[in-house]
């Protein structure tokens, strides 16, 4: 196992710069998720760690070794691809044995390693099958088995769950996390799904447009997003972000609603952020809001409302019987509201 250090790494494809100086420290045994919308450079960064893309400038270390000019196979890493990249003409056994066979390992050791991996992943009965004859989840497991067999220093996952259906995705998510807890191998996992990032990561690296926006634990990013991008990207349903002006301890939205601030902050334009679940029903002293849409989910109820002309999404633990057009009274939890700089989008520290 090894740490991975990424130092001011940039990447250029011709005249297009896709990574603008990225710094990430990944500790030994850590599960790090690179998350961001498509095109943010997260997959490129992963492929640079793997050695499938050149590093334009900067430095990547795996353990103590700088790997900028080290061939992929020498890096002691294993990668799981989005489309699994299983060799279709080989059985599950041969797929998993391939790297050891190329390395010239003795037959009995290959067998022992493949059986170990198959045991971990519950693939024992499928060893003689071809990838075509497997379901999506089974193929996914074979791809992981191929990685496990090699006993690598680092596991790399490139959006491994995006080809699976929703139910299987949740199941495999748990399996991958469980696998990491058992094997304790440093893992770098790329996804565009913030729920995957939140549920799996020890540390999230949120990226957009080739920049790292924030690095931190999942709840850190959730509770203290450094800027508007992270605030809007992490969390589902997304944080309400409203443009407007600060005036004392109130915030006046462009739609005209007055929302409470944690403390008096002078005046000036800003963006107000409040997560849907931090807006509560408050029949006595709440702000009047017109119900627009009610989406009951059983455990909670998601209600879209308009305060004046300002749209807000609220999630209530209580069951709400309001119908569209009716009025309810709501109150944001002022202690949990965020204020962001209107121009740069950075969070203005309140506490």
């Amino acid at each position: 196992m090894a740490s991975v250090d990424i130092r001011s790494v940039t990447k250029r494809f011709g005249s297009v710069q896709v990574l603008h100086g990225v710094d990430v420290d990944i500790d030994d045994g850590e599960f790090v998720v690179l998350v961001g919308p498509s095109g943010c450079g997260k997959s490129t960064l992963l492929r640079m760690i793997a050695g499938l893309e050149n590093i334009t400038s900067g430095e990547i270390r795996i353990g103590p070794r700088v790997v900028n000019n080290v061939a992929p196979k020498e890096r002691d890493i294993a990668m799981v691809f989005q489309n699994y990249a299983l060799y279709p003409h080989m059985t599950v056994y041969d797929n998993m044995a391939f790297s050891l066979m190329l390395a010239g390992a003795p037959k009995d050791r290959i067998q022992q390693e493949v059986n170990r991996a198959a045991g971990i992943l519950g693939l024992g009965q499928f060893l003689g099958r071809y990838p075509r004859q497997l379901s999506g989840g089974q193929r996914q497991r074979v791809a992981m088995g191929r990685a496990i067999v090699r006993n690598p220093q680092v596991f790399l996952f490139d959006e491994p769950l995006s080809n699976l259906d929703a139910k299987l995705r949740v199941q495999m998510r748990a399996e991958i996390k469980d696998l990491h807890q058992r094997l304790k191998v440093t893992t770098v996992y790329v996804t565009h799904d913030q729920i995957e990032a939140m549920t799996m990561a020890d540390k999230i690296v949120a990226m957009s447009d080739g920049n790292v926006e924030q690095i931190g634990s999942p709840l850190d990013l959730y509770d203290h997003p450094t800027n508007l991008f992270v605030a809007s990207f992490i969390g589902s349903p997304a944080m309400n972000l409203l443009k407007g002006e600060i005036s004392g301890d109130q915030f006046r939205t462009e739609g005209g609603a007055m929302l409470p601030l944690p403390k008096s902050m002078g005046s000036g334009p800003a963006v107000y952020g409040i997560r849907p679940e931090y807006i509560h029903l408050s029949p006595d002293k709440g702000i009047e809001a017109r119900v627009h849409l009610v989406e009951p989910m059983g455990s909670e109820t998601q209600v879209s409302v308009r305060v004046g002309e300002t749209p807000l999404v609220c999630t209530f633990r209580e069951r709400v019987n309001a119908k569209p057009g009716e009025a309810i009274r709501i109150m944001p939890d002022r202690a949990l509201a965020h204020v962001f700089d209107a121009e740069k989008g950075n969070r203005i520290s309140i506490n």
Binding site: A85, H89, F98, Y130, R132
Partner: protein, 321 residues
């Protein structure tokens, strides 16, 4: 009241049913199959089955030009078996097909692998590669005729006058063995584009991530070719090879335009021999018999490449996607 409504509905039903008779006929699957297939079957029968049938029938008669033949059974084939020229043509057809196929596939596959790389002017290079195939065969045959000319050959010119490696011109088409291999070389030149472009299409269906996965698994370029490219290409290789063998074995134009089977009948393929016997000498039945004698070879070659290289176990079963 209820009764009248029911009758009204009946009448509506009857009224809507009657014009449907023709429409219903066209909805009938059997009828549709029959209607749609008739033109194709007709064309095939007239332009494919009839000439083929006539050719096979002629092979069992003693027809010559100007004389309607009678059925003589296998006599033509018995004669061919004792004819050294026929054996000669069989030998050269097999040699021609074998060597030319190996040459075309070795060079064509190599070219396809090159063209599959990221090269500058990639599409232009691909277009250029197709050129030998686009040029009419007779035209390229004439070009090769000049290249192989005993006096004006450019190869002899290069070797004798420019490089000074030889004292005399090479007589490419003047003696049997050099003529045989000269024709094979010309056939390879002509056949490479078909093989290269078909195999290139196959190469492009192989997912790049397989190569990346193999690279991470530690495969060298040769191992990637051996363990990924080659097995993945087997199905398409089988198809392309089947076609190539058929085209090469039944080749006529190139040989007939360059050597006409000479010198001393050493470069006759079965097709050129059949033409010479059947049309040039007027022995229609014997020519037909020679042509028919190609069929077993072609069937065998096709079966071999189809079953030898064809559908593999890993391609079978359903896609679970």
């Amino acid at each position: 009241m209820a009764l009248t409504t029911a009758t009204a509905i009946d009448q509506v039903a009857v009224r809507t049913r009657r014009p449907n008779a023709l429409a219903r006929l066209f909805d009938n699957k059997l009828f549709l199959i029959f209607v749609c297939l008739t033109p194709a079957v007709g064309l095939l029968a007239v332009f494919l089955s009839y000439p083929l049938g006539l050719g096979i029938w002629l092979a069992f008669t003693d027809t010559t030009i100007g004389r309607r033949g009678v059925w003589i059974g296998l006599e033509n084939f018995e004669y061919l078996l004792s004819d050294p020229l026929w054996w000669n043509a069989v030998f050269y057809s097999v040699l021609y097909t074998g060597v030319a196929t190996i040459g075309k596939f070795a060079l064509g596959f190599w070219l396809a692998l090159l063209l599959n790389q990221h090269l500058p002017f990639k599409s232009m290079l691909r277009a250029i590669v197709l050129l030998p195939w686009i040029v009419p065969t007779v035209l390229s045959a004439i070009a090769f005729w000049w290249i192989y000319d005993p006096q004006f050959s450019i190869i002899s010119y290069l070797l004798v006058d420019v490089l000074g490696w030889r004292e005399t011109n090479i007589d490419f088409l003047g003696n049997p063995w050099s003529a045989r291999f000269s024709l094979i070389a010309a056939n390879i030149w002509r056949g490479i584009p078909f093989v290269a472009i078909s195999l290139l299409a196959g190469l492009q269906t192989i997912s790049p991530s397989l190569y990346e996965a193999a690279m991470l698994d530690g495969a060298t370029p040769w191992q990637r070719f051996r363990h990924i490219t080659l097995p993945m290409m087997m199905p398409i290789l089988a198809i392309v090879m089947t076609f190539s063998i058929i085209f090469t074995f039944s080749d006529f134009q190139l040989v007939y335009a360059i050597t006409r089977g000479g010198p001393v009948n050493s470069t006759h393929l079965l097709a050129t021999l059949a033409f010479q016997r059947g049309i040039a000498s007027g022995e229609l039945a014997e020519g037909a018999a020679i042509a028919v004698s190609m069929i077993p070879f072609l069937v065998f070659a096709t079966l071999f490449s189809y079953f030898g290289l064809g559908r593999r176990k890993w391609q079978q079963g359903s896609d679970n996607e």
